[in-house]
């Protein structure tokens, strides 16, 4: 990562984290800091953000340096987290996917894994990025098309000399009643849909996992996920495990290839566990 970021020091950065100004922005983060708090408006989602990171550096989608992009993406996620910006679950999901790709790259691969890129998560990601970019461009082209109300004006003439009462649409009051019912029903559904979001915090989850490990020093990986929490919950748990692993508080182990993963507290010897 040798490219220098645009001179970010020129832009006063006023984020306050834990009561202190937060100034040490990573230099390779290509998002203007002042844009961070409006980032959810500025980007249409994780794919859009990734495309931005890639395009900003003139990289080829087909050949993205995945580690570099992953780090930039994670950096962004973690700053957003520190600034306590509410991040949509999709951003966390993408973080998990990138982390998975990264781990695959770092792990020695078996011969059969090299065959075909059907299941290669990197190939899947690249395909999705390509497809998204294609639609993004198509949407821009659609916006450029001449359209009614903006570019197209119909040529109208006066027809009042035509001596026929133009029939007006016939409406039955029953139709109005039905229309209002439809509105009410929809309004009702809308209010049901405003579900108060369970705050899913990675930090909180890290604490919870450590507490679980206090009671039981080794846990099956899958026990750490509560599927009722949905995809976002799974992602948060996954990120929490990665964070703990990065901080070397836990380690992820596997007794033999393809067996179930376990997680255990680091710095404890086998003897202690036994």
């Amino acid at each position: 990562m040798t490219e220098a970021a645009p001179q970010q020091s020129e832009i006063p950065f006023r984020a306050i984290v834990d009561g202190k100004p937060y100034e040490d922005l990573p230099t390779d983060l290509y998002i203007p800091p002042e844009a961070l708090d409006v980032v959810l408006d500025a980007f249409e989602g994780p794919l859009d953000l990734l495309l931005y990171l890639i395009r900003k550096q003139n990289l080829d989608i087909l050949n993205i340096p995945i580690l570099q992009i992953t780090e930039q993406y994670m950096e962004y996620i973690s700053i957003a987290d520190k600034l306590k910006l509410e991040l949509a679950a999709e951003y966390l999901l993408m973080a998990a996917l990138l982390a998975e790709i990264k781990s695959r790259l770092l792990l020695p691969r078996k011969a059969e894994q090299i065959e075909g890129d059907e299941d290669d998560p990197r190939a899947v990601l690249i395909r999705r990025l390509q497809e998204y970019e294609r639609i993004k461009n198509a949407a821009e082209a659609l916006d450029e098309l001449p359209r009614m109300e903006r570019d197209i004006v119909l040529a109208s003439i006066d027809t009042s000399i035509v001596k026929v009462q133009r029939p007006k649409a016939d409406v039955d009051f029953q139709e109005i009643v039905l229309a209002l019912q439809a509105v009410l029903k929809r309004a009702d559904q809308l209010s049901h849909h405003v579900i108060t979001k369970e705050p899913l915090s990675v930090k909180e989850r890290m604490t919870k996992i450590m507490q679980q490990l206090d009671a039981q020093p080794q846990l099956l990986f899958k026990k750490l996920f509560t599927f009722e929490e949905g995809r976002a919950g799974v992602v948060v748990a996954f990120l929490a495990i990665l964070e703990l692993s990065k901080a070397e508080l836990v380690e992820i182990t596997q007794a033999e290839p393809f067996s179930e993963l376990s997680i255990r507290v680091k710095n404890k010897t086998k003897a202690e566990i036994a």
């Binding site: 003439i157 009042s160 035509v162 026929v164 409406v171 139709e175 019912q181 009410l184």
Partner: protein, 188 residues
């Protein structure tokens, strides 16, 4: 072609476009104000353009005609009977969106366009409001004392007449409607 002729030809096209685009007749004065102040052609020049356009449409199905408030394109008299056939063959149908808008105005009046949008959860087109105003089923009863002073819409006497209602009280009560809506949902 001289520059002057070129300009005159371009001006004619612009005037022609304006007369076609406008919903109501346009006077020389109104046509003049469309141009930037310093570049506005004289009324005489505009009149010359109009005369030229009249000539162009001599063999066409429409003509440029002068009425009290200005100039407008209209269908030629001898073709009016065909246009009449068109109209009797195409009774319009109102969209669901328009009926919903009307229902909200009827039940929640007076309401602003913003109120309707909030209840319907989607934006309300000007066309829809215009159609209802045109039909004289709704009218502007005043303006809300809020930023932008939006129009407050209410239903009219013509609305009651059309739907054969003596007063707004004769409309089914909102609670009944809600009960019906819920019953409808339970069936599903």
């Amino acid at each position: 072609m001289s520059d002057n002729q070129q300009d005159q030809k371009e001006l004619k096209r612009i005037i022609e476009a304006l007369l076609f685009a406008s919903d109501s007749p346009m006077s020389l004065q109104q046509l003049q104000t469309v141009f930037p102040e310093l570049e506005a052609p004289s009324k005489q020049t505009i009149q010359e353009a109009i005369d030229a356009i009249c000539g162009d449409y001599q063999n066409s199905a429409i003509e440029l005609h002068q009425v009290a408030s200005g100039w407008r394109f209209q269908v030629k008299q001898e073709l009016a009977s065909w246009v009449a056939r068109l109209f009797t063959h195409k009774p319009p149908k109102y969209s669901r969106a328009l009926l919903e808008t009307l229902a909200i105005i009827a039940y929640q009046q007076p309401v602003t366009r913003g109120d309707i949008e909030e209840i319907r959860g989607v934006s309300v087109s000007t066309y829809m409001i215009d159609t209802l105003l045109d039909r004289e089923w709704i009218k502007v009863a005043g303006h809300k004392e809020s930023p932008g002073r939006p129009s407050l819409y209410v239903t009219t006497k013509q609305f009651l007449d059309y739907f054969n209602l003596a007063s707004l009280e004769e409309m089914p009560a909102l609670q009944e409607l809600e009960a019906l809506a819920i019953a409808g949902e339970m069936e599903i």
